[in-house]
Symmetry: C2
Subunit: 290 residues, 2 copies
């Protein structure tokens, strides 16, 4: 872990992510902030579902013990909003970064009304509807994975195309799970690349197509891991397929996303932007207003 | 949209979510805060990938136009960190909630060092590794969906079991996509419920099992939507299966999660907590430190 070129071990701090729900918001938030401090090593721990005074006391105990163990107080990122739960944490031996509470008061002033002190779970209200529409989107995506059927493609919000191992499946799944978007995907095979022409069944849906592409080097490594020393995974073949496929996308004017060095979240969010897909086009779900 | 029992239409405000990346952090954060104000209707708009001065000017134009159109200034939740990009937004006609910048300075004081002004994308550094391990987890999950194979089950981090339509598949996919966890799932069929006994192939993995269950009413509605007026979807059958399955889980001491009225995020985060699964058990990926 330590850098042999350096005589000093880097400082090490513990960061807690404290929430009364899933912790996803506070984890994303805290991690993003911590990446701004590259010289510090952070041990990270999520304390989820801290929704009662008792759970808050447990959390405080952990925080205080860590302060003693580390010899320096931890950082605590918190999205807790219930006063009685926050009160238990307030005097712990930590730098408390109260990320929700900080903004409640300026929002109350601006909106001229008092906030409801809820559990802070943004899925609370329209839960059942949202759940159903996301499940439907996931089912749609699973049944339209890798060109497995061209039935009901007209119901797709977006159709991702790309050569083998260009990242279509995980991106589609993320689009359906995170955004409730019906995302189908369709492989571009060597036959399609000879022409080059789009598979006939896709021609009617050109407006829904988004292509994924990746660097030949990376594709080669990904394919090697699965089928080592094969023609399919050879650098030559990867270079050929990427070049031909990208020429096809240009010719057909299909927007093409280079996925190398992008996270699944980034690829998915870029597609939402690119294809102008609104959150929640699924039935029973409108995200224009909360 | 308006409540017929009320003479006043509720106030309506626009909220922008502004980020130089995917916007997922700022959207989660902003939405959570807005749910604290139940009497206000919010129109919401994400402005993603605002990473240049030019994009920031566009964003500012949109914000200022909305202020004129609404007759009241919008709320702007921002995770922008680059000074030159933030400067463009600072004087827009909005309540600016600068959610990252607010905490940078107390963190710098505490850590005794200066933050790197990066793009704030927490996937930046170990991107390729993290991407690969999540893709591997997704592939594992897809190939172990619905008991499709019992090969390599020893490599699973967790195995979800449950009767048909209890939410196993989307939960597994979320676990693999969001947490990089190898999540398999296995159906509990009517045959298993007659005994009641666990499917033989699962007995060796009892420590990895987590059961999902749901209310018979809700299960009935979900199954009806797919196979209306069938024995499979009848309320009677749903009640029988839920009762027998939950008895089986109790008997075998398998932790059982009631998924009714929970979001996929909540179910997944609960499983991570319950099964004590650390983020990123996949290869090439350690999330203990960033």
């Amino acid at each position: 872990m330590s850098d042999p070129a350096s005589n000093e071990t880097p400082p090490r701090r513990t960061a807690f992510f404290l929430s009364d729900g899933t912790g996803i918001t506070v984890e994303n938030f805290g991690r993003s902030l911590l990446t701004q401090f590259e010289t510090v090593k952070f041990a990270q721990q999520s304390l989820r579902f801290v929704s009662t005074v008792e759970r808050a006391r447990e959390a405080r105990r952990k925080i205080d013990e860590t302060a003693v163990f580390d010899g320096v107080r931890p950082l605590v990122f918190s999205t807790l909003v219930k006063p009685e739960v926050r009160a238990e944490i307030k005097d712990s031996n930590a730098l408390l970064l109260d990320i929700f509470a900080t903004f409640i008061s300026p929002l109350e002033d601006e909106l001229g009304c008092i906030s409801s002190v809820s559990t802070g779970r943004f899925h609370g209200l329209h839960n059942a509807d949202e759940y159903s529409s996301r499940i439907e989107a996931v089912n749609f995506t699973l049944s339209h994975d890798d060109g497995s059927t061209t039935r009901h493609l007209d119901e797709a919000d977006v159709i991702l195309i790309g050569i083998s191992r260009s990242g279509k499946t995980p991106t589609c799944l993320y689009l359906s799970l995170q955004y409730g978007i019906r995302a189908a995907n369709f492989p571009i095979t060597e036959d399609d690349l000879e022409g080059p022409n789009l598979p006939g069944s896709l021609l009617a849906y050109r407006d829904k197509l988004v292509a994924l592409s990746t660097e030949p080097d990376r594709l080669h490594r990904i394919r090697e891991a699965r089928y080592p020393n094969s023609r399919y995974s050879s650098l030559n073949q990867c270079q050929f397929e990427v070049r031909q496929a990208e020429a096809l996308y240009r010719k057909m004017r299909i927007p093409c996303l280079k996925t190398t060095m992008k996270s699944i979240e980034e690829i998915a969010a870029t597609i939402v932007d690119l294809a102008d897909l609104e959150r929640g086009r699924g039935p029973g779900r409108s995200r224009a207003h909360v």
